[in-house]
Symmetry: C2
Subunit: 382 residues, 2 copies
């Protein structure tokens, strides 16, 4: 199927993918008087007396703003807020389909960190949560951190943490398949943008000890060109000796490669140089860092990609609907790493006997969002 | 029926009145690949190359942001953005029901004019139009004016112009009933907030020559206490001699009273002092400036209110869905007074033989929004 052609036709025919519905039929003057004036004054009064009642009397309690500035949309780069809208609409319908959450796209006409933070704070009263989407690194880190500090509703940058949860879930099962332990393996993460930094952070919270992080200039190291405060912080942790090296050098002897970078960066020889029973997550989309058939030829034990036409698809939709479902239902104000690790662990357990071709559930498996939501809620009360 | 009780129960049971839907079924991995990655990249690319394509490939072309700061919600006053949400949700479902427009409530956590203007400008890329709602006067006038100047999508403050269109439609027919002409009658408008100023402005565009405007201190006049630049501008036009006077004095001999003010300001004696065959629009809600039975006793020829339980309900829902339908369909950037007069005239013609008890169509009459939309579009090409 030609997805590009089909997608363009769908968007034209339907004028996008989202619409608004009323939760109740409105057929008579009485219906109008209940939904609107004069009846509507009563829920307004109740909320005016106690703001928290907006959670159960309005859409707020089941709504998420999907916020972008259009600066890092898919693999397309900085295409602006209007051009990002189809992706944000897609996100919104995934929220609805998989978790019955009502999400609305907000595409911002600014790419300034302070202004984005301010805009989100101003529109926050009507929403129960904030999903940041396709905002380029390193701006996304500061935006997320400040919004978490300054808002009283949960904020998550899905490119970082949604990706990280699904990668961790898959990695837990891939390690089972090859009989290795997370605190013993060496992982190479390639790509120090939002996805790579989110993955690195979560893997450490899940017990990982050994990691190299590679960006377009090689291994990250304090004092190297092309660093930023976020890379500095990570480099201080994983590379205190200031080692340098290429992706090929880092992969030599590594157990796991996680690419959130560029098509074709890993060749057969590089894959062969990894430790026995290597695991590869080649998540560049639509063309992965190494194609599955090449990886298998090189003896890779488990290969995952971002694509639906290969086994082991790493798809954020396994994570974000359930994470927000959990935090909205329990009115959790801050999403913690412990919640994300719990979500990943719960996801991994949905495949009780993982194999090299099946390390993750399908988004269409029944109950995925509920399993994730329950794990998040349990982690919140620990 | 106890609308307050019914409304509160509805809001509790349904957790508000709005929800998001997908415009197409999403059941398979292929559906996911079309609606989301990788297929969605194609509409993104098309819009990145030509921003205007967002109008036909996304929700933008049929979407309106319903914006409030919660400063003047219904008759409840400054109850804040969260408490305003039930009204904004109501507005959104009216947009959907009556014009198939997808509107989303944005409740702003600021009441500063500059900040509101800035917030709306930042979120504008994803919307096809801006409906300002329940923002207190006189801030609403500057906010609307600046947004009209600075945005490339239509902006309308419904409390001003939606009200004005329906009042003008009703007045055209009421004048027919009593056999008077708009350029000959004297109108007293009571209430110099958003509704009153919007009505005053539109009536002059429709040919009215004689008006007194009354606020809580009496007749507006240059140099009087409690004026603002907007009242000054109107006073310079309608009261160049600086007359002063009370509501009762202004009503003496007037042909038309239009109240967008407070319950019970007009008594039977004041109504009796008006010219022969007087017309009263008593739009304070839920308790009008004068009750219909009192007005009739005083010999009033036509009485309209804001209520659905009396004849001649002046209801904004007759206007705003069709106005936005027209401007969105024709991609009109600015809503002009000529379009609003055309909308009112078209609405009035939906009652071909008006009587004292029937000067306006019902919102549930088929085709109201289409009639208004077509009138707006025709006025745009004149």
């Amino acid at each position: 199927m030609n997805y590009s052609k089909e997608s363009l036709e769908l968007h034209k025919k339907k004028q996008g993918k989202l619409e608004i519905q009323s939760t109740f039929p409105m057929e008579t003057t009485d219906d109008l008087s209940i939904a609107y004036t004069p009846g509507v004054a009563e829920p307004c009064r109740v909320i005016a007396a106690d703001k928290s009642r907006a959670w159960d009397l309005t859409i707020k309690g089941r709504s998420v703003a999907v916020i972008t500035d259009g600066s890092a949309v898919l693999g397309l780069g900085n295409i602006g807020p209007e051009a990002g809208l189809p992706v944000m609409e897609g996100k919104a319908i995934l929220f609805k389909h998989f978790a019955n959450i009502d999400a609305y796209p907000i595409c911002l006409d600014t790419q300034d960190v302070d202004e984005i933070v301010q805009a989100v704070k101003w529109i926050a009263p009507g929403f129960g949560g904030i999903n940041l989407e396709d905002i380029s690194a390193p701006r996304c880190f500061e935006i997320e951190r400040r919004l978490i500090e300054e808002l009283d509703i949960p904020v998550m940058h899905d490119d970082q943490h949604g990706t990280a949860v699904v990668v961790l879930a898959g990695l837990i099962n891939a390690l089972k398949v090859v009989g290795k332990k997370i605190d013993e393996v060496k992982v190479v993460v390639c790509g120090a943008g939002s996805g790579g930094m989110g993955v690195a952070d979560l893997l450490f919270h899940a017990g990982l000890k050994h990691m190299d992080m590679i960006d377009s200039r090689g291994m990250i190291a304090l004092g190297r060109d092309g660093m930023n405060p976020y890379k500095d912080e990570l480099a201080a942790q994983i590379n205190p000796d200031g080692r340098t090296g290429t992706l090929a050098q880092a992969l030599n002897g590594a157990d796991v490669f996680i690419g959130v970078s560029q098509p074709g960066l890993v060749d057969e020889e590089m894959a062969r140089s990894m430790a026995a029973q290597p695991i590869i997550f080649a998540l560049a989309n639509p063309v992965p860092e190494i194609m599955p058939e090449v990886a298998h030829k090189a003896g890779v034990a488990v290969i995952a990609t971002g694509r639906s036409d290969f086994p082991n698809q790493v798809n954020n939709v396994l994570a974000f609907p359930g994470i927000f479902k959990g935090v909205l239902e329990a009115r959790i104000k801050t999403i913690t790493p412990a919640m994300l690790v719990a979500a990943a662990t719960a996801l991994s357990k949905m495949v009780p006997e993982p194999t090299s071709h099946k390390i993750l559930p399908s988004p269409f498996d029944p109950g995925v969002a509920d399993v994730v939501a329950e794990a998040v809620k349990r982690a919140a009360v620990v």
